[in-house]
Structures are given as structure tokens and as C-alpha cells.
């Protein structure tokens, strides 16, 4: 039987193609961002649809690059900082494009999702994108669940953030200009709650899968590692948001502000704590 690898080009050529695909994706995301901005600030309706289509189009070279890297490294895109950034952004954009295709009224959230995405992706390419190999304790399906749902949580919270920001802008400025095209305040409010809820669900699965993985690898399902501690703090704050919303009527403006606090905690846990502490997550996460 002929090996499929005999049809694949040498690794050095593949790495070049990977590089080209990544930068193509970055350029497409930049153009989409510009079009989102013009559609919102200059009221160009057609640019919104084009920007949305470009966001979807950008996923193709991005996915190709991820798949090439996956093939060369022999493991999924969750080990090095570069891989983690790239796959997180891909999932976040897929989440946004899927939800905004179903719910037309939140397409404008692209103005928040896309710029962050291409900046982080560009940053990831600048960080050493060398191939890293999977250590023995990382070869488990629980790690895949842990990382996959973590990325879904990030996607959901980005959309919730966009809805919260638009809610607050609409509260402050009223129904003027581009804000007229956005859903009504009660609808935005419920979207904030729903997407924060999705993030909470996925974050719960992330923490649980991580605990199971940690136990299978090191015999401890919880070791108060800084990332573990920050992730549980974030989870408890989500719980606080839920309680305040359901039992103390903390909705609308205050709810949106609390949601932004939840977002800050997520970013702190995923992107800041790993840089400033030395944990088992530092090497393999952002």
C-alpha cells in the first residue's frame, strides 16, 4: 500500500506554505476589520455583508495553516504559545461567524472579534513558531477536551463582550447612527446573558476535563497551581454573575458591566497569569 506521505511535499516546503497561509489569513482579517469599521462608522450596508464573508473566507487559509502544522508536529494545535493562539483565534472566529450567520443582527460584533483576532494571530507568528513535540503526560483525550472547550469558552465570551459593549454604547448614545441597526436593548441584554452562560458551561467542562487529566497524569485532580486557582476564581465569579442576575435583578447596564468583569477574569487566566507565573501550564499555554 502506498503511503499517503509519499504524496506530501518535503517538510521545509510545507513550512513555507504554512507561513504563507497564516499571513494570508491575517491580511484577510485586516481587510474584514476595515470593512466592518466602514460599515459601522460610514453606514455602508454592503460592506457589512462583504466583511462577514471575508471573515468566513479567512478561516480557510487559517485552517490550512493549522492542519499543515498539525501534520508536521504530529499533534493538535494546543502545545506551544503559537499553536494555542492560532487555534484559539480560529475557534473564536468560527464561533462568531456561525452565530452571526444564524442571528443577522449581531454581525457588527465583527468590529470587536476581528481586530483582536488578527493582532493576536500576528503576535503568535512573531513568537517562535517552532515545532514542539507532545510530552508523554499530554497524550490523553482529556487534554483535547480541556483545550477544545477552553477555546469554545473564549469564543463565547468574546461574543458576550461584543454584546455588552454595544449594550452600554446604546444605553449611553441612544438609537443613533450604526446603533440603530443593532438589536433592541432587551435582546442585547439576553444575548449577553446567554453567551456568558455558554462561556460558563464550556469553562466548567474545561476545568473538569483539566482535573481529570491532571489526576491521570500526576495523581492529583487539584494542586492549587496558579492557573488552576485563577480558573476557579473565574468560575466562581461566573457563578456570582448568575446569582446576581437571577436573584438580585442585576441585568441590563449593571449586568453588562459585571459581564465585562467576567471577561477580564478570563483574559487574565488565559493570557496574563501564564506569562507571570511558573506552572505546568506556562510552557504550553498562553
Amino acid at each position: 500500500m502506498i503511503s499517503i506521505k509519499s504524496y506530501i511535499m518535503p517538510q521545509s516546503n510545507l513550512l513555507q506554505y504554512e507561513f504563507i497561509c497564516y499571513w494570508t489569513a491575517v491580511v484577510i482579517y485586516i481587510v474584514a476589520t476595515i470593512l466592518f469599521a466602514t460599515s459601522i462608522f460610514f453606514n455602508k450596508e454592503k460592506h457589512l455583508a462583504t466583511a462577514h464573508k471575508l471573515s468566513i473566507a479567512g478561516l480557510v487559509p487559517h485552517a490550512s495553516a493549522i492542519l499543515i502544522h498539525w501534520y508536521i508536529s504530529g499533534h493538535g494545535p494546543y502545545l506551544s504559545k503559537f499553536e494555542s493562539l492560532s487555534s484559539s483565534i480560529w475557534i473564536a472566529i468560527i464561533f462568531y461567524t456561525a452565530i452571526s450567520t444564524l442571528k443577522n443582527e449581531i454581525k457588527s460584533l465583527g468590529i470587536i472579534v476581528l481586530p483582536g483576532s488578527f493582532l493576536l494571530l500576528g503576535m503568535g507568528i512573531m513568537v517562535n513558531p517552532a515545532i514542539e513535540y507532545l510530552p508523554g503526560s499530554f497524550q490523553t483525550v482529556w487534554l483535547i477536551f480541556h483545550i477544545f472547550f477552553n477555546k469554545l469558552a473564549l469564543g463565547a465570551i468574546l461574543i458576550a463582550l461584543g454584546c455588552a459593549i454595544f449594550y452600554l454604547l446604546k444605553c449611553k448614545k441612544g438609537n443613533i447612527g450604526y446603533l440603530k441597526k443593532l438589536p433592541d436593548l432587551p435582546v442585547l441584554d439576553i444575548y449577553v446573558y446567554q453567551f456568558t452562560g455558554f462561556c460558563f458551561v464550556f469553562w466548567t467542562i474545561t476545568v473538569i476535563a483539566g482535573s481529570i487529566w491532571a489526576h491521570k497524569s500526576w495523581g492529583r485532580y487539584w494542586a492549587w497551581d496558579p492557573i488552576e486557582t485563577w480558573s476557579i476564581i473565574t468560575w466562581v465569579i461566573f457563578g456570582l454573575y448568575m446569582h446576581l442576575r437571577r436573584f438580585h435583578g442585576l441585568k441590563e447596564k449593571k449586568g453588562a458591566i459585571l459581564m465585562i468583569v467576567c471577561f477580564i477574569m478570563v483574559i487574565l487566566t488565559l493570557f496574563i497569569v501564564p506569562f507571570i507565573t511558573n506552572t505546568v501550564h506556562t510552557e504550553y499555554l498562553l
Binding site: 514542539e132 510530552p135 508523554g136 487529566w213 492549587w224 497551581d225 446569582h243 437571577r246 436573584f247
Partner: protein, 457 residues
Amino acid sequence: MPYLTSLRRFFLHRTTILILFCFIISSFLLGVFFPQTSIRTAEYYQQLALSQPKFYQFIELLSLKSFSSSFWFLSLIFLFSISLSLTLWQQAKSFFAKTATKTINNERFSHIKEIDTLPLAKTKDFLKKLLKKLGYRLLYVDVTDNKANLIFGKHLIGNAGSLFLHFGLLLLIIAALYGYFFHSRGFVQVMEGETISGNPPDWLEIEHGRFADIIDPDFSFMLEKLEVDYWPDSSKKRIESLFKIKDKDTKEQSIAVSLGAPMMINGISFFQTNHFGYTVTFIIKRPGEPGIPTHFMVNSSKNLKQAPNATNDFPLTDYIFEIYLYPDSEKPSFFLNNPSTSITILKNDEIVFLGQMKPGQKASFDGVDLYCASIKYWTGVTLLKGYALPLVYLSFAFIMIGVFLIYFFIPRKIHIQLRLNNHMVNSVALSGRGKNAAIFIEKELNDIYKELHYASI
């Protein structure tokens, strides 16, 4: 007893729950900002005690270096558990209670439609089918002379979400406390061919809960073989140990334990650690005396450019051995294949022997004979007992089910009032109810209203 009722009200009060949340978050933050024993070594704390004695005293006083086992944190968890248990009891009572859904005479109906007079039964059937299409089921019907009230419900299982989540949390707290008080753990280095019988002196690290004994398996285990694989960049790909287990009934079995794939024997879990290296066994024999064997543990190196090495004294002698190990004497390798050692032996800071030896070879120096007996692998294994894992996993399942139900099954009800005149319906009034479901209900009421407008019943 009134004070019990007051206590119950206190623990169930929303503000109490919020305050408990805030205290828990604060205690977790303390755990982040004060270095914990689970991630710092004893040497770190010794240096901290020397460099910042007052700060270290403060940490010791409040047990901040191991906050999760401190008295104040356990008390906080205890208070939280009381509140959680009472909440759970209340939620369970209201979920399982048979609630007679009463018609509310002063219900504010958002949609009212005048229709041609129609038979009640036919109208009811039409509405049941219509609501069924929207995913609702009929919960309650009440017919009087001039009104018929139909109450439909959807995703009511979502009401159980909080129940599952809180029960899961309580179960997790119980499992964690059980593990904390009753667990025992031991770490041991074992070389190929060596049998560990479970005596405490064999363990390098021991840890046990307050109500547990030092781990003492009722079986012995021998490392038959260690297998290690590497990636092209010299990082470890796989470490797998093959153990022969012998219990007190002299029943033997073999188990394979690798990184990320523990095994359980007689209630004790075996975990393969990332530690491994080489054991070089030397025997020193003085004339007329029995030989003194010693095993030198040499850690594996991180790359092929550096030979694994170790420096240690030889017990019961004045000699210090500096050993460089070449797992493969023909080429740089991590794998034992015709291994050899380069040894420097010092006595009183003077070199008394310098040379290379392979297993089975003999050398003489300073009036003694030195035998290189063997070069084998060693590895680290952790044994663990009593963490109540099934309970932990069960709690995880309940928590996940709970959060799914809360966020993906938002419960809501639609109340339809049919106004009757001589048992014939002449108008239909609609209202809906549900927390965080206002826009869904609004859309559904609009859909029902449109159907009533266009449909011919």
C-alpha cells in the same frame, strides 16, 4: 426552635450567599498571591524564612502557604456547605412538590384576540397541537362557566439545573474533604529488578491525611522492565514501566503503567512519574571482608550532548565517586546498549582512580577491588490511596448536567385563557412567564397570535 429558624433564614439569605462567594474568591486570591506548598519546595520556604522572617511568620500564623488546609478556609467551606445544603433542600422540596397551578384572575395578558364563536373542545385541540409544535406540553386545564385556562410549559427540566449543580458542588466538597483527611500517598524510586515491599523506609516522599496512615500496600512490586521513547528533539515521548505484583496470597500479576495511564491494584493507584534515569551498581571489596554494594542513581540528561552524571560518596568508605555514564559506548544515546562509565574516585580531595568501566569489569586501586556490577534503568512511581475518585467524578457529572440544564433549557410557561359565552369561545388571551426568557416568550406569543389570526380552527 426559633433560633434554628433564624439560622436557616440567615444561611438562605441572598446576601449571606453573596458574602460567602466574596470570601471564597478572596481566599482563592490569597492562595494565588502567597506561594503554596503544592508548587514550592521546602528550600524556598527556608530561604524565605531567612530573608523575610516577619513576612514568613505572618504566612505561618495564618497557614497561608497551604491555605486550602488552613483552619479558616475549612471553616469557610463548612459555612458554605451549610448554606448550600439548605439551598439544595429548599430547591428539592419545591421541584418535587406537586404544585397545583392556579389560574390567576388578574393575569396581565399581552395578546387578546376576538374570534368567531367556536366550540371549546375544538379550540383546545387546536391550541394543544399548535403549542406542541413550539415544544410546549399541556400542564394544567381549568374550566369554569365563563373561562377556560390552559397552562403550557416548555423546558421545565431546566428548573432542575440548579438542583443538579448545587448537589454536584456539595458532593465535590464532601469528596475533597474525604480525600484531604483520608488520603495517603508515597513516592518511591525503583530500579529494574528491585522489589519494593511497601515499608515506609522505602518511600522517598510520604504524605497522608490527618485520619489516614502512611501508605502501606499489602503487596510487593518489582520493576521488571522500563521502556522509554524520545522525540527527535530529545524530549520524552513515552515512559512505561512493567511491574510484577505479588500479594500476600503469593498471587502474581503483571501490570504496565505509563505516563497518563495509571493502574489500580487492590485499591491503590500506580502513577508513572516523569522521573527516570540509570542505576550504576558498584561493589567495593576489601581483602578478607565482604563486598559493599552501592547503587548510584544517575538522572537522565536532557539532551544527547551531555552525558548523564552524578557525584556521590560511597557509604562506609572515604571515597567520593564522580560518574559519567554513556548508555551506549558507541554513539550518543539515551538507551542502554553496551553501556560504560567514566569514573573518577576521590579520597581526601585526591584522585585515587580514574578510568572507564563496563558492567562485569573489575578494577583495583588503593588496596581495594572495585566491581561494576550492573547498569540498569530506574524510575519514579507514585502510589495513591483514598481520594474518593468515584465520588469526585460523580460530582463532576452532576455539575455538568446542572450547568447544561440552566443555560440550554430555559423554562417558560404560556397561559392561555379562553373566554366563554354559553360554552363557546369568543376570545383568546395569551400571556407568558419565564426568567431570562422574555424575548423567547414574546416571539412565541407573537407566533401563536399570528396562527390564531390566519388559521381556521
